[in-house]
Symmetry: C2
Subunit: 245 residues, 2 copies
């Protein structure tokens, strides 16, 4: 174990920040660290919108179901999967983009996530905390309109950044032998291991909430997975030119 791995292992979402601002120069450094991540066939399909405008921020709080830290964080970035720039690259060479493939949706989305994880780690290495905000997909059409996103661009998630004003515990993860398999997928024993893990998650929530929340991982997951999951997504993405074939 070294200092980098310790940093990675110490990640927890931060949702309360001090007033200390993040200089623009630092934000540029973070984004450049994001750009340094691997990119599928060099497509560089991530565009970041830094949202400074107070009114836009308030609207993004609403779009993400009232997560106030989206408005309060010293910096808020929206990470977009961007094939519009690839369309421009085609136009610059008198070529016509053949967009709409599911494969392209995957590569662009993965590009964005690798990029954002670098930004997060760079921020944490400077003593900041971050929280990913998938909640902006609650009202993804409104978010896209707010940020003037053209076709072939979609907002994957937001990221709150700032200096932590809280110190939450690291959440226990699944035992590694449920997650790492040798040579083939094999879920023998998963059920028993998850049942054990469920106990440690229950304890984590009990400790953290002073006994108010008592929930295992599998309970939490099943409560969520029986519901519809943002059923507007597919239509929205198709309208933006993704997932057509």
């Amino acid at each position: 174990m070294n200092a980098v791995i310790e940093l990675l292992n110490s990640h927890r979402s931060i949702r309360k920040f001090t007033d200390q601002p993040i200089p623009q120069e630092t934000l540029n450094t973070l984004v450049q660290a994001g750009q340094a991540a691997a990119t599928s066939s060099f497509i560089q399909a991530c565009t970041v919108i830094q949202v400074n405008d107070k009114d836009t921020r308030s609207q993004l709080v609403e779009c993400s179901g009232g997560q106030v830290y989206v408005g309060e964080a010293p910096a808020f970035l929206v990470f977009c999967a961007d094939m519009q720039r690839l369309k421009l690259a085609c136009e610059m060479n008198d070529a016509e983009i053949n967009a709409g493939f599911t494969e392209q949706f995957i590569t662009a989305t993965v590009d964005v996530a690798l990029f954002a994880q670098n930004v997060s780690i760079a921020a944490e290495s400077l003593g900041m905390g971050v929280a990913y905000i998938g909640g902006i997909r609650n009202q993804i059409a409104r978010v896209s309109e707010l940020l003037d996103l053209p076709e072939l661009v979609y907002p994957v998630f937001g990221l709150c950044l700032g200096y932590p004003d809280q110190n939450p515990e690291v959440k226990p993860r699944l035992p590694v032998d449920v997650v790492l398999k040798q040579d083939s997928y094999n879920d023998n024993g998963n059920k028993e291991t998850i049942a054990e893990y469920d106990k440690s998650v229950r304890e984590y929530y009990q400790t953290r909430t002073g006994g108010n929340k008592e929930m295992t991982w599998s309970e939490q997951m099943s409560g969520m997975m029986i519901k519809e999951a943002r059923p507007h997504m597919l239509n929205f993405l198709k309208e933006k030119g993704f997932l057509l074939k």
Copy 2:
């Protein structure tokens, strides 16, 4: 700038490795660092298959279009988006999963990418090099069969790991002002900036290939984006229970 950010900025894909093996304990440490990444609503939807079997490796070389380092790397991991484990969590609580939503496809895919980026950074911090292998999606159905992947699981990409036996240059990225925008998407000036960037990419390839390859970024992208992109993906994913609605 600090040592972590320098590490992030020094990333380049490594495709040639020394014989030095990676102990299983180290691989477990890397995967646990992967697990420490943020996970959407705690779903922990990433499963990693470590492929040791020589025959499976050879077949994976074929599946990824003859990338020999997939067979040669001291370790090869396949990162899978896994909702099968969430189905199990539902079953453990007598609930029925409501799968097939595009939203779930996004969260699972993003989970995998954040996880893998942590694994990569942890590996690089220990002096290893990595290469993401999206090429396994060339023959994704065959890869899934080889690894016995059940429904609600798909292989997003592979990752070669090992100690570098080459020292390629870092590839120049797009200028930060093309990638980072203030308050709204705005591509004014992108074309001019990309035209400038094109020159530096051409130089990079010229230097790296001793003048044999002369290609700008926009040329490379347009050459690729006019083609079909793995048109089998959508059907395959639907058969696995993804992107149905």
